[in-house]
Subunit: 256 residues, 2 copies
Amino acid sequence: MTTEFSGTGDPVRTLELLWGVQERPRRGPRPKLTAEEIVRTAIGLADAEGLDTLSMRRIAERLGVSAMSIYTYVPGKSELIDVMLDRAYGELTPPPDGAGWRAALEHIARGSWALFHRHPWMLQVATGRPPLGPHLVEKYEFELRAVEGLGLTDVEMDSVAALVNGFAESSARVSVHTAEVGRRTGMTDEQWWEAAAPFVAKVVDPERYPLGHRVGTAAGQEYGGAVGPGHAFEFGLARVLDGVEALIASRADPAG
Amino acid sequence: MTTEFSGTGDPVRTLELLWGVQERPRRGPRPKLTAEEIVRTAIGLADAEGLDTLSMRRIAERLGVSAMSIYTYVPGKSELIDVMLDRAYGELTPPPDGAGWRAALEHIARGSWALFHRHPWMLQVATGRPPLGPHLVEKYEFELRAVEGLGLTDVEMDSVAALVNGFAESSARVSVHTAEVGRRTGMTDEQWWEAAAPFVAKVVDPERYPLGHRVGTAAGQEYGGAVGPGHAFEFGLARVLDGVEALIASRADPAG
DNA sequence: CCTCTCTCTGTACGTCGTACGGAGTTGACT
DNA sequence: AGTCAACTCCGTACGACGTACAGAGAGAGG
């Protein structure tokens, strides 16, 4: 499966689409659709079947029009995906007022984690140039609000937000992709492991890799058991926030 | 652009390929190629032109054979990518003997960061089921060695390794994808921003988004300037390791 | 009514992974 | 030596993809 690249379309066309500033045409037949409708349909398909099987033809079919009609509303697939992304980010909620910085960052991380699980396809889009839509702007604002007034510089505030976001994303990635691989191979992790285990046992020497052998077994049991992939997320989140806490403490205490 | 999924091929076939245990055939014409050669060629193409434009036909062309000949050595594209991944991981070096846990984890993170920049396509492969090849096994072992004997449980050791790896990956992802989008649009970030800025200024209200406006400008200047994308990596790495340090301290001091 | 603009559609091109079947080559066995 | 089975390699073909292009039909302004 493949990674779509965000921000590869014409910048201005994409921004117009993101902010919904297309003027209504004065002449010609009534449009059957709206860009909004196309985006909604595309997200629905991507949620259900993944980004790989999302095609312009399938979106069109779902909407009861021909493939090429879609191009009346949307310049291309690239731009469509940008808008899908921004829309999805719109589902995030800001941390509650009055929450401390740590609770606020936890809220943000948990929100992203859940979002990526609702919309797994988001993790397949490389946001080298993030779609500067209304929802992404909103999100950036409340992320910064979470770390305001703690004695951090502007650049540090940005870096902390990026760190938490990056962590939530990479953590969700593991969880989501594991499930995704299972879905697309029709093979659970257990079935896969059952097929692979005898071979691995034959080929990997436990004396050469004692730690990997011991820890891998322990971790495998842990994740296969009741704890699940959420464990790595909770563990990592605590460590990352402890690290941020150390930074904040060093700023509050000039001796640090 | 798209994300290839690792581990979607037949497990046993893939493992045989990874560990190179195909027995030499006794009969039939001498093979022109080896699996190794195909993997090497594929990595070269992916490094130079990305994973999207890597096709079986192009690999074959480069090797002077027909497209279908490739399938004599490799079951399919999925399995080929798994082997490419494991091979690339083989470029990593273990931390020097005697390094402290922090220096060792830094070595590991910096190694991954550099590796992903050398082989940007690795970030387009979703390793939900990581290819259990010799190099990945080796890598896992020296990662665990870095956090051995610090009073952590087996599961915690695994989690710390995953945290550092995840951080390095997500951090490299931003840097690599930014460059990649520039390459594939033929548009530098500056050109893109020049095209987008007037529109953004018109549509984003600075009074509604005061922090985003201020911090975004500051961060933009910082990253556009001499500091570059390595800054976010260095900043995040320090925070993550501080977080790990707090954990280790709490284990060493039973009062924690 | 005429004409201009806009919507919608069918066809077509070049790409992809790879299934299939056949042609040619080699070693093992009789 | 002759035969056969295993093996490599290749040409063709299928059904997908994004989308360029050109044309048909619709509706409003003059």
